[in-house]
């Protein structure tokens, strides 16, 4: 297959493809919904790199915009919603969204327990560690525990019909991050944390999730609260629960508050008595509790109140205005992207306060149609990209080992972020390492994802005739009609004259998954 040098194809395209009229965004703000505007706010790092290296070439061409009509009833906005609340749009999801409408589709996914999920249910038996207690897990061993925990997570993200639920599970997993490779116990304890903290409350209320997390052996162990003694409390958890889980780092606490909270929470630990039925579960150790008087966030704790001091502190934290604001800002980052206008964050924070931290209510406010319409595109993180590349295909899924293996070198395996702040969600963090993005397409297109077989005969059935029909099929089923003219031209040129070979067809799929449009959602 011949391919001319870059400059020649650029020039040729300039003559072949006349400028398409681009729709003006509804407002002049860069936080507006067309692709050019969407990209404008990706931050100084990406923007500066683009300008420095490729401004001339890029600007010489009309910037490919997706002509999105952001009217709340528009198909484009429905597709954006499908993209934002799933691990990758499929025709099936898009069809469902079209039949239910914007609010109806969102409500359908928010009411996740009403969504039948038989495929996932039947597969859970393949991950027996999920139902094992601490003692059983120790018999199973840490290697199997970690592998099954990670692969079950990936299986659900790929196959669950409860896609918004799985997306927000991902969000809270990062918010209450526990690193399962910290040591053996952090892996064992994460099993119960995943079920009883994150999945149990992901679409419940934030206060309940916070309280569950504060009683979670996984969190208390990971952040060293289990090692606190009355005289020498460990500050690690006390700091992170304020900085990362509730108030945020600018939420108005001091080092003295960290020390006070570490004393308040001293004694919150794990039951290490092997003969007890509560072995490996939460245990309050009064002998390790600091009974001195404390002052926490300006409130006097007289001392000698035992575990109730911690309960009181947790209420202070989850009712604190900084927590409402911080949780709101993170949900906005998750669903609307970076640099969400403060007015929206404040509105979502008000919803937190008014509803007692009801997560569904906050998600509804975040995803008001006009807000999603104006939100910039987000860069898919590696796990999201890989799974979204698989979801549109006719798959036979035997296991998720290959998916997990592909995420290992980019360090985006589930539960494997080494710090308590969770995987970053800034484009500037993930945008530098593009090679795996380009290679994921090849892995998928060559059935190189171990454990998963894609039926490309079915995928391309009826579309094999010409490069144009192949490109159109990929556009329809993978990009949902959003393929840019540039990408279509490149695919057609790549396939060359005549009926595309099977290799050229799957390469077209691979190039699309590795291509520019598919990286964003």
């Amino acid at each position: 297959m011949q391919h001319d040098v870059l400059e020649a194809t650029v020039d040729q395209r300039q003559h072949d493809a006349p400028d398409q009229p681009t729709k003006q965004p509804p407002e002049s703000s860069a936080w507006a919904g067309n692709r050019r505007g969407a990209f404008a706010l990706l931050g100084g790092v990406l923007g500066a790199a683009l300008l420095q290296s490729h401004a001339r070439k890029a600007m010489a061409q009309p910037v490919a915009t997706t002509p999105v009509d952001m009217d709340p009833s528009s198909d484009a906005l429905l597709l954006k919603l499908v993209d934002r609340i799933t691990f990758g749009a499929t025709l099936e999801e898009l069809t469902l969204a079209r039949s239910l409408g914007y609010d109806g589709y969102l409500e359908y996914h928010l009411n996740h327990t009403a969504i039948a999920d038989p495929d996932v249910d039947s597969r859970l038996v393949n991950y027996p560690v999920l139902t094992q207690n601490y003692a059983q897990l120790r018999t199973t061993g840490i290697t199997q525990t970690r592998l099954q925990l990670m692969e079950a997570r990936l299986m659900r993200a790929l196959l669950s019909k409860r896609q918004l639920f799985e997306r927000i599970v991902d969000f809270w997993t990062n918010h209450f991050c526990i690193f399962i490779f910290e040591n053996d116990d952090s892996g064992y304890f994460k099993v119960a944390d995943d079920a009883n903290v994150v999945r149990a409350h992901a679409l419940g209320t934030f206060p309940n999730m916070l309280i569950a997390s504060a009683h979670s052996p996984g969190m208390l162990h990971y952040l060293d609260n289990t090692t606190s003694t009355a005289l020498a409390p460990n500050e690690n958890y006390a700091r992170e629960i304020m900085e990362l889980h509730t108030l945020g780092v600018t939420g108005g606490y001091t080092q003295a508050d960290v020390v006070a909270l570490s004393k308040i929470l001293s004694g919150w630990a794990v039951d290490r008595r092997t003969a007890e039925p509560t072995y490996g579960q939460f245990r309050y150790l009064s002998s390790n509790h600091n009974n001195q008087p404390k002052t926490f966030l300006g409130v006097n704790f007289p001392g000698n109140q035992g575990q109730a001091e911690g309960d009181q502190a947790l209420v202070m934290l989850h009712t604190h205005p900084s927590t409402a604001k911080y949780v709101a800002s993170k949900l906005c980052l998750e669903f609307l992207g970076e640099n969400t206008p403060e007015a929206i964050v404040n509105d979502v924070a008000a919803t937190y306060t008014a509803t007692g931290g009801d997560i569904k209510a906050m998600v509804r406010r975040v995803l008001r149609p006009e807000r999603l319409a104006a939100a910039p595109l987000k860069l898919k993180r590696p796990m999201h990209l890989l799974i979204s590349g698989l979801r549109p295909l006719p798959l036979t899924v035997n296991n998720l080992t290959g998916v997990r293996n592909l995420l290992q070198p980019v360090q985006h395996q589930p539960f494997a972020w080494g710090a308590p702040d969770g995987y970053p969600d800034k484009a500037s963090y993930w945008s530098g390492n593009v090679l795996p993005r380009l290679n994921y397409g090849s892995s998928i297109g060559s059935n190189g994802v171990s454990g998963i077989v894609s039926n490309f005969t079915t995928f391309f059935a009826g579309a094999e005739a010409t490069p144009q029909t192949v490109a159109d099929r990929v556009n329809e089923r993978v990009l949902m009609g959003r393929m840019t003219q540039v990408e279509r031209d490149e695919l057609i040129q790549y396939m060359g004259a005549g009926a595309p070979t099977t290799g050229e067809r799957t390469d077209s799929l691979a190039l699309t998954i590795g291509g520019p449009t598919f990286q964003w959602f």
Binding site: V10, V45, Q255, S431, G432, G503, G515, Q519
Partner: protein, 444 residues
């Protein structure tokens, strides 16, 4: 290497400093630099010995500029163990269990005296040759002026090079690269972070990529179609104006560049043996990359795991002891490889977001603290000393009553390196709103 209680013998320091023989020799031997300056391919070795260094320095490759290797110890390394202030009794008072014994004891884990005040614990002793040669300096009670004890805030503020700035997103190294002409005008890759995600210190740098493994960097899939697929992808990104276009182009150029380097077959000089594991591999690949002279000016390498809240383990087999061994063996191998034979000039800096609490906690660990030790290694380093303005570890001398204070802003150390070894006088751009006060960590 000595483990006696006497001071380290510094008499065998490189006698040629501050005009280091090794780098001058290397400069004149560098084939690519010579070609760039002379435009001829003949008589390189024959002429090289007589080429004056100053003439080479005016060449386009910028012979007087060092490559910088920036090592970040993530998680807040315990500098009070890595470089022990054994002569300050406050140290032993606050750490009855988690200390390193004085050099004048018979304890097998006693520290080795550096200067009559500080000592190195056993796992750090591989660094003694570099220290004795005067090419390694410790800077103690050093760190950021920002009082945050949050890892994430402190790392961010340190890497952007400005405390408390919530809007600045570019890093000090990235702004350095951005504000100076390329060392090699043809360089495809000017800076690299050995990482899956770009370190914030490098953010904003042109032609800068994170690469987790320099030896495994290529477009996948069939080699038959690779060139055509690559061309299609390059066109797609560039011609759609995608924000990733520049990175994709740099990535493809970097693939070509890295493919010219035989990382797997690289034989380190000076008998260097890099430790196994990702840190040693990163340093070894970095050495190969720098010696290949492909125009890379800055490399950022991370070593993590320093957040030792419990069971810190300072002694043989302990967690922190192993981590220190990894660090010291890695830096010692890099020293042997890059500093004892011909190689391009390199300055290595090592830092951490903050130190650890002076007093040990009840979990046999240490909580978040403040002042810390920083290391600089290079041919022009004023080494063989522990630079400090020691605030003391006694009552009334501690930051907030509990921590070693910061008396030397880490930016003073970095700014001196940026200006005098990286050749960038635009310090106001690299470290905004900061008036650097050089500490004399460099001799040239």
């Amino acid at each position: 290497m000595t483990t006696t209680a006497s001071h380290l013998d510094l008499s065998n320091r490189d006698a040629t400093r501050p005009d280091p023989h090794a780098c001058a020799e290397y400069n004149s031997l560098s084939r690519r630099r010579f070609l760039a300056a002379s435009g001829t391919t003949l008589g390189v070795l024959a002429m090289s010995q007589s080429l004056p260094r100053v003439a080479l320095g005016q060449g386009p490759r910028g012979a007087n500029r060092d490559v910088i290797v920036s090592i970040y110890l993530r998680g807040a390394a315990d500098g009070l163990t890595m470089c022990v202030p054994y002569a300050d009794n406050g140290y032993y008072t606050a750490r009855p269990n988690l200390n390193i014994p004085r050099p004048d004891t018979t304890h097998p884990e006693k520290c080795t005296d550096l200067d009559g005040f500080f000592g190195l614990p056993v796992p750090m002793l591989p660094l003694v040759p570099a220290y004795q040669a005067g090419k390694l300096i410790f800077v103690h009670a050093c760190g950021s002026t920002d009082p945050s004890r949050s890892h994430f805030e402190a790392q961010r503020f340190m890497e952007i090079g400005k405390p408390r700035d919530l809007n600045l997103v570019t890093g000090w190294l990235g702004r350095h690269i951005e504000s100076i002409a390329p060392m090699d005008p043809l360089a495809k890759l000017r800076a690299v972070g050995i990482s899956t995600g770009l370190q914030q210190s490098l953010a904003g740098g042109p032609s800068t990529l994170p690469i987790s493994n320099l030896d495994e960097f290529n477009l996948g899939g069939s080699s038959t179609t690779r060139a055509a697929r690559r061309a299609a992808l390059a066109d797609m990104y560039v011609n759609t104006g995608n924000p990733l276009a520049a990175v994709v182009s740099t990535t493809f150029d970097t693939i070509d560049m890295l493919n010219t380097i035989n990382f797997a077959g690289y034989v380190p000089a000076g008998g260097a043996v890099y430790p196994t594991g990702s840190f040693g591999t990163a340093l070894k690949s970095t050495a190969a990359l720098i010696k290949a002279e492909v125009g890379v000016e800055a490399v950022a390498i991370d070593l993590g795991g320093f957040d030792t809240h419990n069971n810190q383990g300072n002694f043989a087999g302990g967690f922190f002891a192993n981590l220190m061994s990894t660090l010291a063996n890695g830096m010692a191998a890099f020293y042997a490889d890059m500093f004892t034979g011909p190689a391009p000039n390199v300055t290595v800096v090592a830092m951490s977001e903050f130190g650890r609490r002076l007093g040990e906690n009840a979990s046999n660990g240490t909580d978040h603290g403040r002042g810390n030790v920083m290391m600089v290694m290079g041919n022009c380093v004023n080494g063989g000393q522990v630079k400090r303005n020691w605030p003391g570890l006694g009552p009334g001398q501690l930051f907030e009553g509990v921590d070693l204070d910061v008396t030397i802003d880490y930016r003073n150390v970095l700014a001196e390196v940026v200006q005098n070894r990286l050749g960038n006088a635009n310090l106001a751009h690299v470290f905004p709103d900061f008036a650097p006060q050089f500490q004399g960590v460099l001799s040239c």
